[in-house]
Assembly symmetry: C3
Homo-oligomer: 350 residues x 3
Amino acid sequence: MFLKNAWYIAAWSHEIGRTLTQRWIAGEPVVLFRKEAGEAAALEDRCPHRRAALSMGKLIGDTVQCGYHGVQLDCSGSCVRIPGQTTIPPSMRARAYPIAEKWQWVWVWMGDPALADEALIPDFRWNDEPGWVSTGGTIEVKANYQLLTDNLLDLTHETYVHAKTIGNNAIVEWPMTHRTEGSEVHVQRIMRDTPPPPLFAKVRGTEENIDRWQTIRFQVPANVSIEARGYPAGSEDLSQALRWFSINSITPVDDGSCRYYWTITRCFGQEDEALTELIHQSIHATFMEDVAILEQQQLMIQTDRADRKEIGVRADAGSVAARRVLDRLIRAEATSAATHGGEPALATHA
Amino acid sequence: MFLKNAWYIAAWSHEIGRTLTQRWIAGEPVVLFRKEAGEAAALEDRCPHRRAALSMGKLIGDTVQCGYHGVQLDCSGSCVRIPGQTTIPPSMRARAYPIAEKWQWVWVWMGDPALADEALIPDFRWNDEPGWVSTGGTIEVKANYQLLTDNLLDLTHETYVHAKTIGNNAIVEWPMTHRTEGSEVHVQRIMRDTPPPPLFAKVRGTEENIDRWQTIRFQVPANVSIEARGYPAGSEDLSQALRWFSINSITPVDDGSCRYYWTITRCFGQEDEALTELIHQSIHATFMEDVAILEQQQLMIQTDRADRKEIGVRADAGSVAARRVLDRLIRAEATSAATHGGEPALATHA
Amino acid sequence: MFLKNAWYIAAWSHEIGRTLTQRWIAGEPVVLFRKEAGEAAALEDRCPHRRAALSMGKLIGDTVQCGYHGVQLDCSGSCVRIPGQTTIPPSMRARAYPIAEKWQWVWVWMGDPALADEALIPDFRWNDEPGWVSTGGTIEVKANYQLLTDNLLDLTHETYVHAKTIGNNAIVEWPMTHRTEGSEVHVQRIMRDTPPPPLFAKVRGTEENIDRWQTIRFQVPANVSIEARGYPAGSEDLSQALRWFSINSITPVDDGSCRYYWTITRCFGQEDEALTELIHQSIHATFMEDVAILEQQQLMIQTDRADRKEIGVRADAGSVAARRVLDRLIRAEATSAATHGGEPALATHA
């Protein structure tokens, strides 16, 4: 069960062009492309005629021609040509998905098009903010997407999984606070006068103690931005701080796999390409440490009794709150669909 | 659900000899071999004793000795020896399948042996006809076998899938006719004064317009012969025509995969081995273009809602008629099995 | 359905040390390690917190620290630390499995710990007996574990599967006897004045006829020791005999796969390392012949109708008796679990 009335990242903007690209999102195949004028478009990747994958066809102007029997569909999913006949049955149409481009990514709305509101795209402004520079990537993970949001909402794992880069013993010693606001969850941990983790020391060129701030913001369905700050201990002087945003958005492929889109975007050493490269390699390696843990965790959950309870700890508070928000929205969608005879839910997230 | 009272190709004649060969047909494992006198035989590839694969055993005269505990079965499936004992329980027997060799292929009857009538083997005489020469092959396809018969019964796809060889825009502009006769479906398209597709031009050595005839004959469960003719436009002169039969028979392996047996058999340039090779390579490459489309189509069908309707077009008429004929026979078999206490159906195809 | 109140081999003793090792046993993931003092320990390989695989964590003294969020568990499965908090909920505990080391192997008890009695570990003393030398290995098999015990309890298959090493035609000509004693099954075949199989002739350096004894002992769930003797025909002189024990224990991984632990242990030529190597290579090759047969047999059973009956032969008597014993114990466990509200069975095997 996925939240349908939601924006999911389908691709990086630079990945979509005048060729047809297939992506699976929340269990559905989607074909993506750009119109001649440059605007991105998305259709269900099944021809309404015989369900051939439209992504194996070709673009003719702003239409997709199915690669099997030549049925031609425009960006609204309407059929504009059936070879060998002049009448076109109105039912010959593919589902078109609302699409938006923001923060370097192409977002697709998987639910009721009438509810697709770009204001619901999560606030990842730091990817594009003047004076900031970002680096990022995509990782395919064989685990349920919520295992990744759990991961990002409880950073105590950095101590155990990421001791080589962003983790150290300080993290688990400081408490977290969290609050839920509408469909958002906010988590914060402030660690004072504490040794910097290895990557911070490397990037800042000093082992001196820092005040370390982690400010996490969760937005449904699976978007997590983390503002990381490392001040010289006691200074609260942003001009001397390491400060970056770790932007994360996870798109479910199906129940047991997902695509993890990430950036690190910073407001210091913006011209320093070697620094960008160092951060990119270090963070990619760090996230691959998570992937190893999460893929085994996925296996252990899949093979366990379905009714088995996990035992909570205090540090779960943020991730539990986020799951509660998302579960509530998914249940509301199901109820609304039942009430409205199968139509998507009308409620928005806020 | 497969039609059981039907002949399916198990192998090319040259593939079966004095070694045991395993083939899966319509969900059942079959072991094939030749008797000492040369006649082909087929048993269920499960020893009645412990269900070891008989194909891992060995031939002793005209019997198969199971490779596990030595149980020995003759070509009728009767047990002729159990090591270590003299009594043989009558229930110790394997299923034997009626078998026939025709048109270079070994055919197996998967239903009630009493109904196995060689007259029901489809008419693929052109594979063996004096004055004709054929070339062909086998392709394993990860798609339901009916997606291949659909494909062969609507050749408008040549325009989109096979533009490099046998397709061009002319095809979709000309109408098809079709008729159902008993359990056969006949489809025809005649295209007049039209440019030849690339492979025809290459084979005939001229780009001049042709009258192009496609005459398709479907025989259950999944046999399609296509007579292709390319006359000099307006001539109807067979002596100057490119003329070949495309013979196709698809054997289901299971619901999601099949083996596709094909030949092209022609009555011109019979001695020209380079021409044979050109046709073989071109047609194999052409069919692999289909395979790419069909395997994605299979995935899209498998992952779609089961109740979702496809939207028909005029060119589907032949394939829809063929599915109707086959569905009727499969339903009749199921009804008959229910009425006759599990026995295979008595009705024949005609 | 596996017998839970039973010892299963988890590993060779030499495989377990101060690193965490994952093994799947009877459908459950188990993490194995040694305490600082050398004693082996086993926990369920799922952290009670979030079900991460404990085997990806690390050993800290005699505790396992989960590699995800640092939850620390001792060898009884009790939690001794949760990072970031001082209270530990009593429910934060992992299942600990009774463990024993015997006959070079580490055994794990998969049922009610209160019933774990080391006296129930099968009698494989010959692996360790003074004056005896053993060689052995592990083979991963994609087949249900009972197909292997069936195999070992009917050695007529040696004639057909192992004609290169331990099989010849003599075997099937001599009758077997069998008897069930409590939860054990004993099978014996004595072949008099018979040619030795190829491996015996090679090891003994003579083709002269022998009296060949096979004395098989089955102990639940899947333990089979085979005493093989080859006397000079008529002598019954053990001092001149080839005599070894073939010790076999099969641990189910899941319904369709298992790990097969084996040794050959002998009381002649104990110092002859070339002989040890010859026996090791020959027996490994011999067992791989079984694996090829059994993996196809598994496929044939899995794809067959569930209600289909196998047809018995006289030589099945031992394996049928062993299945009967095991089925009775598994049913008793299920009944006891139902009666005692889900608790493991109280009955022991004897």
